[in-house]
Symmetry: C2
Subunit: 200 residues, 2 copies
């Protein structure tokens, strides 16, 4: 059964209203009651559509990141397949920094909702979005440097995009600085192993 027209209309209205409110007030100052009111629907409708607060936030974030995720596997290089690992990694970091920068409020809302979840294995790492990103980065690292712990390093790299830090930097208008350091970090890590003790 296809989604009824009124349902589709309401879903759009809710997403739109949520996005607006989230941008206007902070993450913490938007209740689902308000979202419902702003969208001109009942609260029940919000929950029927999105399950819970996290569901709504996830829908918002996915809306903004889907295109990029698809470009990772199907798009043109260097983001998509075809370029050497370091180039792809840098392209990815650029793209993800830009996304994170443009959507701090949204991502903060999503992460926050996640950490408030019940389920044992909540937490950032278990969200499908994060997993897709992580798989990608870990894969690239391992391709270039099979001797490293790509999986863990990918977590650490992605960790620097925690909305906390991004917000901190954005508040001072320094998102470009984040990007520069990430690029540096990536190049240093992927460079051919130096003759040095203590390799991983």
């Amino acid at each position: 059964m296809v989604e009824r027209a009124d349902a589709a209309r309401n879903r759009r209205a809710i997403l739109l209203a949520a996005e607006r409110l989230l941008a206007e007030r902070g993450v913490e100052h938007v209740s689902l009651d308000e979202v419902a009111a702003a969208a001109g629907v009942g609260k029940g409708t919000v929950f029927r559509r999105f399950g819970n607060r996290t569901g709504l936030m996830r829908a918002l974030v996915e809306q903004r990141t889907m295109a990029m995720i698809e470009a990772l596997s199907d798009g043109p290089p260097p983001l998509g397949p075809g370029a050497p690992p370091l180039e792809r990694l840098i392209a990815f970091l650029d793209a993800v920094t830009e996304l994170a920068t443009a959507n701090v409020a949204l991502i903060a809302a999503y992460e926050h909702a996640l950490t408030n979840e019940e389920h044992a294995e909540r937490s950032r790492q278990s969200s499908p979005l994060y997993q897709a990103w992580h798989r990608h980065v870990a894969g690239l690292i391992v391709q270039a440097r099979p001797d490293l712990d790509g999986e863990l390093l990918a977590h650490i790299l992605l960790g620097s995009l925690h909305s906390d830090l991004v917000r901190h930097l954005l508040a001072r208008g320094e998102s470009e600085r984040l990007n520069r350091t990430l690029r540096y970090l990536a190049s240093t890590l992927l460079a051919a192993p130096a003759t040095r003790t203590g390799s991983a």
Copy 2:
């Protein structure tokens, strides 16, 4: 005026109860009502002592980290002053990994409480504990590599201790793996600049 004996007794009881409950159930399943009940005091007492949820969590965390923070400036090398930067950095990462590993529940509780705070400049980065750590790490990086963005790299390094990730690794009994990769990362970063394009 010195703290009254009953007040001191209650403070200890509350800290103890909170710690126990936090370890038993998860972060999200401990309300201050319960802490009060478990400590055998009224709820008002908890709030008078610690101000709010965050205050209680902070007190718990500080209890566990004070010793290490003092060792950074006053203890023997390599943790304290006297050893070369890389050694000190590695000693610090060892110490902090151990702390984070041993106190995931506590730290998760603290971070979570922080992100629920009202104030604009909440967030991890603004807690005094984090700032002390950050200052230390950033200082060491700059000492060894004045050409790098030590401040930001310090954020990224510390970011890998976000309780999220630590919990993720601990759940699989791999805290030693985290430590190994951090050591590697630190050594690579602090190594003398290679002849490479794209330096920060």
